[in-house]
Point group: D2
Chain length 318, copies 4
Amino acid sequence: MENYVYAPEIAKLGHVALVSEDIEKSLWFFKEILGLEETAVEDGIHYLRCWGDFEHHSLSIRSGKTSYIDHIGWRAKRVEDLEQFALLLEEKGTKVKWIESGEEKGQGRAIRFQLPTGHKFEIYYEMDKPKGDENNKPFLKNQSHKAWAKGISTRRIDHVNIATNAEVETVSNFIIDNLGFKLREYLVDSEDQQLGAWMSVTNLVHDIAVMKDPNAPTTHQMHHLGFWLDNAQDILRAADILSEHQVEFVGPGKHGISQAIYLYVIDPGSGLRIELFSNSYLIFEPDWEPVKWTLEDKKALTYWGENSSQANRTTIRG
Amino acid sequence: MENYVYAPEIAKLGHVALVSEDIEKSLWFFKEILGLEETAVEDGIHYLRCWGDFEHHSLSIRSGKTSYIDHIGWRAKRVEDLEQFALLLEEKGTKVKWIESGEEKGQGRAIRFQLPTGHKFEIYYEMDKPKGDENNKPFLKNQSHKAWAKGISTRRIDHVNIATNAEVETVSNFIIDNLGFKLREYLVDSEDQQLGAWMSVTNLVHDIAVMKDPNAPTTHQMHHLGFWLDNAQDILRAADILSEHQVEFVGPGKHGISQAIYLYVIDPGSGLRIELFSNSYLIFEPDWEPVKWTLEDKKALTYWGENSSQANRTTIRG
Amino acid sequence: MENYVYAPEIAKLGHVALVSEDIEKSLWFFKEILGLEETAVEDGIHYLRCWGDFEHHSLSIRSGKTSYIDHIGWRAKRVEDLEQFALLLEEKGTKVKWIESGEEKGQGRAIRFQLPTGHKFEIYYEMDKPKGDENNKPFLKNQSHKAWAKGISTRRIDHVNIATNAEVETVSNFIIDNLGFKLREYLVDSEDQQLGAWMSVTNLVHDIAVMKDPNAPTTHQMHHLGFWLDNAQDILRAADILSEHQVEFVGPGKHGISQAIYLYVIDPGSGLRIELFSNSYLIFEPDWEPVKWTLEDKKALTYWGENSSQANRTTIRG
Amino acid sequence: MENYVYAPEIAKLGHVALVSEDIEKSLWFFKEILGLEETAVEDGIHYLRCWGDFEHHSLSIRSGKTSYIDHIGWRAKRVEDLEQFALLLEEKGTKVKWIESGEEKGQGRAIRFQLPTGHKFEIYYEMDKPKGDENNKPFLKNQSHKAWAKGISTRRIDHVNIATNAEVETVSNFIIDNLGFKLREYLVDSEDQQLGAWMSVTNLVHDIAVMKDPNAPTTHQMHHLGFWLDNAQDILRAADILSEHQVEFVGPGKHGISQAIYLYVIDPGSGLRIELFSNSYLIFEPDWEPVKWTLEDKKALTYWGENSSQANRTTIRG
């Protein structure tokens, strides 16, 4: 570890790069129903973000024969963290690939690598932060687009939840040890093996979670991508909108773990599960003791409401 | 029918008289958890109402060996309607019993009778409308008690839902023909027999509903008693409060029929099911065409959320 | 009074016919910002309604040199009530004019007349109840259009509030005596003269209110037209949407009288004030004692929030 | 600066130590109306926290002849940061006083010092994190007390806002330079002098704000102490509860800066202003460009709702 002089840090979840087998349906779902704004289309890739996201994109979608997640993008705290993360990861035996500036629209240089399970991560620092154009310019200086312009109008990207048929600890430890995440809450089976781990680098309860799915077809699946809404009531309005457009969903309900109000809905284009997410809580304590839940805590996953385990099969490859 | 000269009318649902096999638990549930106010206790009967109810009581509870509904009380539009209803009912062969003023605390003379199924109704007109005492006097002149004083703080009694193993039409037609209710929405089976009928004399979608339950032990069961909350968000807060006190419930969800946001919870004392109810809609059209739903309308009962049919068994005798 | 044998009855507020001096702006405001649906355009008249209104229109707009309310339309309980109202009004010296079927699109025969102040009323019974077309057909059978399709998405027309520089009692007594409304709440000055009267024929606290405005230019002004939203939170979302589009408003706040959560916004086309309105309460008691408020009840008009008196000047002629 | 080897860091706002000239009223207000829990009373000091706070106290109250803030407590990220902060501050000429473990109940060693304006800060690391006792133990493992147990039921301490008649930059620069806060948003006058500065060490828009008040009696005043509620609707419920108990307040409204839904209410015991605060947004970008507002941004302080400047006089000494 002598090649690097300080611990590089992740600042935040940046974006998810989705490949969809039915891009028209996916664009309808994300733009018309969820209400994301399109900041650019280039080389067949649609760059989207929520009205309260500041970066160029928090979701990109391109067409593919099958649906999968091309990568999950994380923003580093400093530009020099990229080199440091590359050094650290390679020392640990993780192969790192550099992506040149502009290869992903709006973004500077970046590194890409795989978790032990095969989930693909990207770390970048430089990213454009365009303002909304004339048509959807917000009134307030501290948001990027008009609020409530269309559909559900999710505010911002919140978190990712990845699934695996392998050991959860393999992934959660990798994320904690190499990327500086902290374990916030976790669920164990009767043999004290992790069934789920919720981790963050921010004050959120989780920027990423890892869930066990013994029936998953691979070690690297997606469970869902979460978007934030400011009020629990906004989740109920989302339920109405989804129902009006005959998009099926699970929820509303409240998780015990994370205390979030949720709704799970599948993008009808790609099959990717989306969680609409509100309330929850923030962690400010520097010595946070990870909250341990066991199978005896019957309400760990679903505190109340429609059982979230109905949404518990994994979706597309991650 | 020559003995009466005009159609007597029901103004509103007044109250439900509950007999509870565990009155201590029932009082804890209704007073501490739902937050009803106690206006009087006399002869072992506890008289309760919500902070937005104006009459002396919207629920009375007394102790009994088994739990059941002693009667459902309806307020007539005029004092002389009592005589008229009595005449009309007796002409149709329904036995009517008079209750003297004060027999039920706060209430004037009243008639009691049974539906063809055995459900027991009361019609009264005179009723005290006490103001809250010093401790829980509201600030506003147009409510009877302080809002949000305790627990969930339901605003007012909303409706009753009765169940039967007999034909629903027997009951719904009786209520429509003899008591002046209008059919607002109804659900039929594949042979066009009513599985449920929602009826009202007010602008509410229903003051009373009748549900078929083939497995019910008698022809005269209760499905639930509904209390109103002003906002869907208040239903979510209720879910938190019930969970904190480990009272089990079904919901939240939204009915297709009535468009109400709901939560179903069992009074742990008596076993009576309570519906916490919000949103829904009002009917002002004088020529309202009853909305017909069939079994092909999969979302008639549960538009979204935790399936209300999980709460569909009948509870105590009504 | 011998010519009529029973009291004709009003069932509900039906619609408001608005003449706008800037119809393009008015259409933008009502269709894009409030989110009303257009059911028809004929002879330059735009017929609009909310997604939860059942009749052909709850607002019509046509172009004019100055803005004013052409008439306020009330639906009778029975078709024969029209003749009865005509008889009754003419006996009392009120001139009645008949409107033929189809003269107002979607509507049958109707009578029009003026209040003593000059406010123009219409009473009709027959009215088309079209379903939303393919593009905005709702999922549920008990509403007419998709919910949340555009903008604020008000649910239904709720009430009108008219203003006068003449005596309020002149109007409120006319409405009570001739049209069968009940006084629900009222505000008096130090000499016990009405400053405002809230009246209804439905279970709402008011279908119509009359407000004193000594500075009003005529005896027949509009104060506002009210639209309903299901949740207080929807009013806050409306505040965001209006702010994004730089439409000025007053509120949110809560009235003491009526207990409603409100927002007042001026249609930038016509100058008509609109109240976005939620919560409030329902009156079911047949012997409701009108709630009297005096100038000593400082919170009668504004219980909390931005002072509704900032919206208290009258708007256009009514 | 050679004596310290790394930059010590603040993790979070911990608590405010209030001296109240009418402690009975203050305890009524904070315990019964806001609904804080009392974790301990010792030497006449009442230690309170919200149901979602994890530390021993987020507010302490003791009796005094006049009301003032004894100190504002900040939690450091590591125990060794205390020594480092002490070194750094003393090098810069700020006098530091050590407080022994237990001097403040539940708390380890701490340092206290004054800002250039005289506002008194404390930095500590060790703090007890008791669980709620039998009576108010939460169901969920990730909160400390039952939610919604009493009154408004604020979730957690959120931020402090201090005021001064001196230059705002003097304070904001001190906080940024010595304590590691980042400037998130700021408001300037026509000569580009700060009128307000919003700063944080967390993902919140602000853990502390400094406001100019030319009419303030001293350089070290409090503007308010903020408590968090999860939903905007909870703020409206708070308005009802305050009104029922005749506690005056300003709001609800929404700030442009911070995008928070607010209500301002004065503790009737001490005169300290409390902000009930919801929604707002989080900042995850490591290169956040502080948002600059000028006096031409008329809606910077009040985006909509009751004008927050009505609450803009400073309250007690800070």
